[in-house]
């Protein structure tokens, strides 16, 4: 083997090793973003949330069928459920007590397990881009199980049937909130890029699930 060939191989190997380092760095970056702890936020972000580790979100109610906890084992979601209503602009509201760690059930609609489309939302991220309760929702797959625990302790099992991204102005609202052909539970969070002058993201992720 000639000297020039050996030099060529050495140079090429150096380039490849550099590329491997870059590749691992890139993978590490993604992995870090996805695996960031949802329940243990950075201290400076959490500082603004009063007693986030101790406040229980479900309002006092004797109704045994109220949903109180959402669990999606496949993607590590395990969150208390708050009741949320409608904002003055007509949009579904989001959790107010622990906005970054709780999920919000749309209490103007059916309860999970009832006929119709029950809807639960959750924040994608916190100010600064830190992960919030539904950060991992983007990694859910069709067929994954979603569990809702009711106040009486009974658990309902749903399975993912569809996953869709919509621009908020084009979201099929009847499909998300008004399908009464079975017992559905639909999960919503944000996706896409942040639009500063609209104070929202470009997309919504909707995960459709059905009882059973």
């Amino acid at each position: 083997m000639g000297t020039s060939s050996m030099r060529h191989i050495r140079n090429t190997c150096a380039v490849l090793i550099s590329a491997v380092v870059l590749f691992l760095a890139a993978c590490g970056s993604i992995s870090t973003a996805r695996e960031a702890s949802i329940l243990e936020p950075p201290e400076r972000v959490n500082a603004g949330v009063a007693n986030s580790s101790t406040v229980k979100s479900t309002p006092a109610s004797a109704d045994a069928t109220l949903p109180v906890r959402l669990s999606v084992p496949a993607i590590g979601i395990n969150a208390l459920i708050e009741q949320v209503g409608i904002l003055p602009n007509g949009d579904m509201a989001t959790p107010a007590q622990n906005p970054w760690v709780d999920s919000g059930w749309y209490s103007e609609g059916p309860r999970p397990g009832e006929r119709g489309s029950a809807v639960i939302d959750g924040h994608l991220d916190r100010p600064g881009g830190y992960p919030a309760v539904f950060w991992n929702l983007r990694t859910i797959r069709v067929g994954d199980a979603v569990f809702v625990t009711k106040k009486d302790g009974k658990q309902l099992r749903f399975h993912v049937t569809r996953i869709a991204y919509y621009m908020p102005q084009n979201a099929p609202l009847q499909d998300i909130f008004g399908n009464r052909s079975s017992a559905f539970l639909n999960l919503i969070t944000c996706a896409g890029d942040w639009i500063p002058n609209q104070h929202q993201t470009t997309l919504r992720l909707v995960v459709y699930t059905e009882l059973g």
């Binding site: 970056s29 749309y106 600064g128 979201a171 008004g178």
Partner: protein, 281 residues
Amino acid sequence: MRSKHIFMLVSRISLVIGGLALLVLLGTQAGRASAATPAYIRVIHASPAVGTADVFVDGNLLLSSFAFGSVTDYVPLPAGPHKVQIALVGKGIGASVITQTLAVQPGFVYTAAAIGSQATGLSIEVFFDNNILVAGQAKTRIYNLSPDAGSFNVSANGNTILNQINYQQASNYTSLAAGSYTFSFVASGTNTNLPLAITLAKNTVTSIFAVGMANGSPKIELVPSQVNGVPGVPSTGSDPRPLPSIDTVQSQGLALWLLSIVASLFIGAGIIFRRKAIISG
């Protein structure tokens, strides 16, 4: 020979790493495609000329014993054209008195009304509905499906809210404060005056259908149908800018670019080494 093995080895390693990087890259973008979104449609039987009926969609029985003046829930229907047939109950699809193809768009919401008398002819009239709620208010819409009543003026608690709603027309949506109302439908041309007492709940959408014959049978009546309005989707994102030091969103975007570059680099190197291996062999 030895250099050929080295080239082949480096080539294979490069292609494998490049391919893996591409798979990771594609994997992060999976699921972006929107799944099939159905249309939603409800049906009202408003044809005085057709008795209790069976409704078939694409040859399958959708509604059985569907009585005059009945309104269904909204049901999902795959987007696209559908053949709708209406036959007297028990007579079978072959005895259909209305056959019409309806094309429905994904995500849209419709009311399909079987309408018409022997004089006007029978058909299915399709309306685009909008069930998006007005926060704290009650939305109302009037549908004139009476073949012979003429044009309606509509008042609520004595205040005129709509004028000149003609046959086969639906009004615009009117937002009213939630509460109890007495509606009055007046068609002066036929001396028709129909009252309806109803409670409108907040965040609902109420349709009031005028169906039947002003002069004939079945007699004209008002059929209300109230559904929960649907809210807009929530805003569940946060401004990533206040804490720019750890901007995970941007770092993820950067990572995707790096992956793209690395994938290209390895695949390119793999091809070059494969060529060298072939030449040196």
